[in-house]
Subunit: 248 residues, 2 copies
């Protein structure tokens, strides 16, 4: 886990517009440099060779919980939610996936979560068997996956930090900041797209739908954020929002 982090530090930033790419996201505290993976053109081509592009309309599934796992996915366009249906009927949202995100965690050969498109989306579908074979042959490529997993762990830990907070406003603030930081495109624009429903947000931050609603209302009333419709968030006072988000 740490090994990868060191490598990540050593890695230079790279932008990849074509072919599968792994998103190395920014961390909580803004760092000077965006740590990213290097995929050589050849590696990207190798991944392309064993992958197909899957397009689905809003609300459709990439895979469902329990299904045999024979592929990994990398989000290409759109947005996806990964969740688990609980016996109680509630949905526990595991994560929201945006372009360049890797998903498809399996356990004992079966998908752990269900992946559903929040809007019309497309993903690279990478055959698992071939991928494993490829990784075994190419240590450098495998290393990129290792780095990617380290990011995954940190992201998960960030979520743990969020859930450890008891105040609804703080959790929401963290959630919004996390989303903004992930949407690299919106850099500087202070516009964040919220393709998920309020109830999905609730499932993610671990509060009830009503509490999420009240908390967002309070943030709006305090002038930190504003909405252009329910799925378009504008951050008005990012300094204050971040202070609340960081204020543990």
């Amino acid at each position: 886990m740490t090994a990868a982090a060191a490598a990540a530090a050593a890695a230079a930033a790279l932008d990849s517009r074509q072919g599968p790419a792994l998103a190395a996201r920014r961390f909580l505290n803004k760092e000077e440099g965006l740590v990213a993976q290097i995929l050589t053109p050849r590696q990207r081509q190798q991944l392309l060779d064993i992958s197909t592009v899957v397009k689905v309309p809003k609300g459709h599934y990439f895979f469902r919980e329990g299904q045999a796992a024979d592929a990994v996915f990398v989000c290409r366009t759109g947005a996806v939610k990964s969740f688990r249906e609980l016996p109680s009927g509630a949905k526990r949202i595991k994560s929201f996936l945006f372009p360049r995100d890797l998903f498809g965690l399996a356990e004992a050969g079966h998908y752990v979560n269900t992946a559903r498109a929040l809007m019309p989306s497309s993903c690279y579908r990478i055959d698992l068997e071939q991928l494993v074979e490829l990784l075994q042959r190419d240590a450098a490529l495998e290393f990129q996956f290792l780095v990617k997993l380290t990011h995954e762990i940190r992201e998960s830990q960030r979520r743990v930090i969020m859930l450890a907070r008891k105040d609804a406003i703080g959790r929401l603030a963290m959630f919004f900041v996390m989303l903004r930081d992930r949407q690299v495109e919106s850099k500087g624009s202070n516009l964040v797209s919220l393709p998920m429903s309020r109830s999905d947000i609730a499932g993610f931050v671990g509060h009830s739908l009503e509490t999420v609603s009240r908390a967002t209302t309070r943030l709006v009333k305090q002038g930190m954020i504003a909405f252009d419709g329910r799925h378009r968030l504008r951050i008005l006072d990012s300094g204050r929002l971040e202070r609340i988000a960081a204020n543990v």
Copy 2:
């Protein structure tokens, strides 16, 4: 993330008594086979060659948050807690480490957490630079780390599930079950050692110290668990405890 899982499924169980070993822990739902890593004797020797054994008394530190990260650690004996000091003074416990656990997550070349011995402990200290080099050369070994990271992610997700619960008893039950499952030695014995303080537990499960105390008391009164002193837990009715732990 998924690639590794598939490989994990393919991996056979192995017990390693000497040299660094990576713990592949059991998952929430007991599975038929204990999924573990394979480290060949040669790989283990390679890791040994670049590692040293560090012994510290109770309460001492392996490293502190922010320190330059130049090594990974694998717990050998004892128990370690990994945590972060918050501005507010509170400690947020990231994880408890037991023999065979890997730790030392770094970000931008510095340790993210502080690692402190809960009891007299020893760890393998693996030089990071050499490890990275070794991993780059040995895809198979690197793959083991990849598998290990996948476990780490699942563990983290399990923690997320725990934190998403609002009831104190449920969280505690999950915590105790998690601990028991990690202490492979205690297999069948129903005895779990709790080397950490109540306040550490509170920091881990995300509740106040008092709430943890009250919840354990209730579990005791309901006859599910009992204590031999504050650091020795006996699970009396593991069926009921597990049902509460799973009852999401």
